[in-house]
Amino acid sequence: MYPEDVRYTENHEWIGEEDGLYIVGISEYAQEQLGDVTYVELPEIGRHVRQKEPVAQVESVKAAEDIYAPVTGVIVEVNEALEGEPELINLDPYGKGWCFKMDDIDTAQYRRLMNREAYEKYLKSL
């Protein structure tokens, strides 16, 4: 349910390395809490963002939440498929439902994020 090879934030984003870039999405727990996602607003490509800055928004039938930058860095790619199929977030949050990719990230911040074990423990504490 929670992949081993990515890291997690307290706000339920995940971030993982892929071909030299860092790919970001929301966790299984987050998609389940939101319910059916109806709209995703993605950030501008090239935008420099700081850790914990709101960069994207997900709207569901019952809520609207911000997605925060898990680390400081630059947005280099966004998942345009979400514009037409926002439900990908519900169906495949770690695969086709990814949100955006980052580069030039603060790797120290990345290393300090929770691993799967820590995140699962964190979820139990909620």
């Binding site: 109806t38 709209y39 607003e41 709207e59 569901s60 019952k62 809520a63 609207a64 911000d66």
Partner: protein, 444 residues
Amino acid sequence: MAWIPVTHKDEQEMLQAIGVSSVDCLFEDIPPSLRLKSWNIPEGLSEIEAYQHLEALSKKNETGYVSFVGGGYYDHYIPAVVDYLSQRGEFSTAYTPYQPECAQGTLQAIYEYQTALCRLTDMEVANASLYDGGTALFEAIMLAVRVTGRRKVKIIPGLNPIYEQMIRTHIANLDLELEYGDEPEGCACIVGATPDFFGNIHDFTAIAEKCHSASALMIIQFYPIALGIMKTPGEMGADIAVGEGQSLGLPLGFGGPYLGLFAARKEYIRKMPGRICAMTVDKQGKRGFVLTLQAREQHIRREKAMSNVCSNQALCALRALIYLCEVGKQGLIEVAQDCYSKTEYLKKKLSAFATVINPKPTFNEFVVRLPIPAEKVILKFKQNGILPGIPLKSLLEHCKQQIPCKDKDGNTYGEEGDLLIAVTEKRTQKELDMLAELIRANIS
């Protein structure tokens, strides 16, 4: 509206149903020290007494004047059907009639109002309305700020000073800069009004193009009746179009209730303020109407909502819709032509002996500069049953405008003798001739 009495027995039954012993129990959560100790409310009146009291109060109103007063709110004719339909009990029901399961009529009316507004302005989407023209303009600015992430807002000179004051009040504690001008570089938006406060008609097409090259938004404040014959905000390339809807079937009141018209390009719909009504189908495939895109609003997004306006002016919007349906496309053109040509007639008459300041075409309002103070003229003409207009200098001063006040083209206004005169389709040729004659007699 239905008379719904509450007897002592009804009250007891309701209290019993919710399990409390008295009405006072409902207020127990408020600390006693914060509750009112006494009420300064006089003894109740009998129906006869209440009627007499209200009648005496209403006699203090001065009505029946031939009015040339405008300044953003105009004396247009209201077809009888507007009162008749809007006063039906089905429409004048409880507050917040938004539940689709019990408010299909109201929701359909709002949806049709939005459609009418889009067609009127040539814009793609409209909300269910806001409180008034000034609020709508402030909300338009905030939308531009959200979309662009920029803090600077420019107003093209000539905006209604009442609106400007409303905007300044709303942004007093926000990190925004407000300037006059039409250069969009680095700005969230440019705000332009046509006709402007002095009646001048402007074409903002070129400025809208400049805005788009500078990634700024063009906000156009329009006058709905004028769109019968004028270029629409959509045709000029507006990103957001706002206006006061009073001229569409709403009577002149002391401050309202009025109607904030708000329309925009579709790409901004998720950042728009206010309610939005949509058409859909129910489980059985039947057409129905619901509120939509509510994730923008504060009952869902809390402090990050697009706006704190979470209501609309449903009854006023309904009147505007009925008005537009009643006059129709051709009727609106005729009303607008009437306003325009009667104004031109009066301008021409007055030009023979006084100075009309507006050098360019105006819609239904203009400024005439008299050699005597406008205030005096107003007091004097009242005795003849005429309200000749607004004494411009006092209004501008009251709205904290710098005198002289400039319009977009640099013409200046605000001298002692400046009178802002509005002419609607209701003014007859006889009335126009009478006003011109009175002015002529008083200045020679």
